[in-house]
């Protein structure tokens, strides 16, 4: 398997664990608040952080797994060759979008880092802790998009995603 895909898979696994970890934190929060009338100041914010990082880390893996929601009604009617062309177009589109978001997402992170901005919330974490996830996540997604483009010739895949809720 391609080294990039392996990297995406690792990031995806970390992301999945982060998402599941939110369950533990928030359950603890309910118990703390409901039974001990002592809400935590960290559970809500840390689980939010896990959601942000979890989702953005896992984007490339989700692409590799062909799990992004996609409308296949029309492309499904095309001949194979055209379908592959459509997939190439979609991958290029994703790549362009990711690169722009990565570039400007980096600016957001960098500015907070330099200014030492904090969130101003109950936990008052540095703002960059969450913001760094955007350049990292979209870098992973860009890499995976390139890997998919390279692998496109040899595969029989004809869509980038599945349809589900």
């Amino acid at each position: 398997m391609h080294v990039i895909t392996r990297l995406s898979r690792l990031a995806g696994a970390i992301g999945a664990v982060l998402l599941a970890a939110t369950g533990a934190m928030l359950t603890y929060e309910v118990i703390a608040r409901y039974f001990f009338i002592k809400p935590t100041i960290w559970a809500a914010e840390l689980s939010q952080l896990c959601l942000i990082w979890g989702c953005l880390l896992a984007m490339g893996w989700v692409l590799a797994q062909r799990h992004h929601i996609t409308v296949n009604a029309v492309t499904g009617l095309f001949p194979r060759k055209i379908q592959r062309l459509c997939v190439a177009f979609a991958l290029l589109f994703i790549l362009g979008f990711s690169l722009i978001v990565m570039r400007w997402g980096w600016d957001i992170f960098h500015e907070s880092w330099v200014r030492g901005r904090t969130t101003g919330s109950l936990l008052d974490l540095p703002a960059w802790v969450a913001e760094l996830s955007v350049p990292v996540g979209f870098a992973l997604l860009s890499l995976q998009a390139v890997a998919e483009l390279v692998a496109l010739r040899g595969t029989t895949t004809i869509t980038l995603g599945s349809s589900h809720e």
């Binding site: 009338i37 901005r117 969130t119």
Partner: protein, 306 residues
Amino acid sequence: AQEKMRISLQLPLTSHLGENLSLFEKEVEDRTGGAIDVEIYDSATLYKDKEVPAAVGSGAIEAGVASLTRYVGDAPVVDVFYMPFLFNTEDKVRAAVSEGNTVRETIEEAVAETGGQILYWQAYGGAILLSQGDPIRRPEDLEGKKVRVFGKTLGDFVTAAGGAPTLISGSEQYLAYQRGTVDVGMTGVSGVKSRKLWEVMDTITVTNHADIEFVVVVNTEWWNGLSEEIRTQISEAAAVAQEDVRDRMSQIEAEAYAAAEENGMTIVELSDEDLAAWAEVVQPVYDNYVAATGDAGQKILDSVAD
């Protein structure tokens, strides 16, 4: 050429901040003879309140309206308005936000470091406490109670009084009170009217323990790119709008209280003894503030004390 000034607003145009922004739009367009075209994006269609500091600071949009406390991450000094009972009368607030006052100048300097600067201040009124049954006269009335808050400093205040602060967004407020997710509510009194909170809470305690200010901020780079003449004209328009909203605020609050009373709410004022009881417990909030803000914060507090 016509220059666009796009302003992001969290609330709808029909809110008093929205109406005030419309007044500002008219004043600007009249004074500049249409050289500046103001466009208001209301109801958070472009940015939510909490995104405004970053959006304006980065130049993603020319201007925006934000609750002042949204700057607390960049400029912790702004939460001086949330120091318990520090600005609990209209006169004190008016003095603090008047041109040249230390409070205002220190805050504007700190905010200016974010890449955006304050063009003018919009009054929103004082924060009050809501309850079902007994009023919240003394700190002990908060003890062991879950209290809605909307920020860290207000959370410190509740903690200092022995309550449990719980962050509840504006939209979940009504149901949080109705269902008892929290026991005590906290909001500006105009929110009681707009969200019909009298359906779920029956008592207002007029604590005015914090003062809620909104600011209209403009991107500094964009501002400096305007001609001297235009800048003066916009500043004049801002001064008119700022005066107008502050004059109207007491009227708006009076109407909100009247509406609350009409809908069966009991309105309770604090006595001097009550205030003294609060003063005894809120010192940690001030200490936290000075710890977070250092000399600048101390300077502000000293200037208010004088």
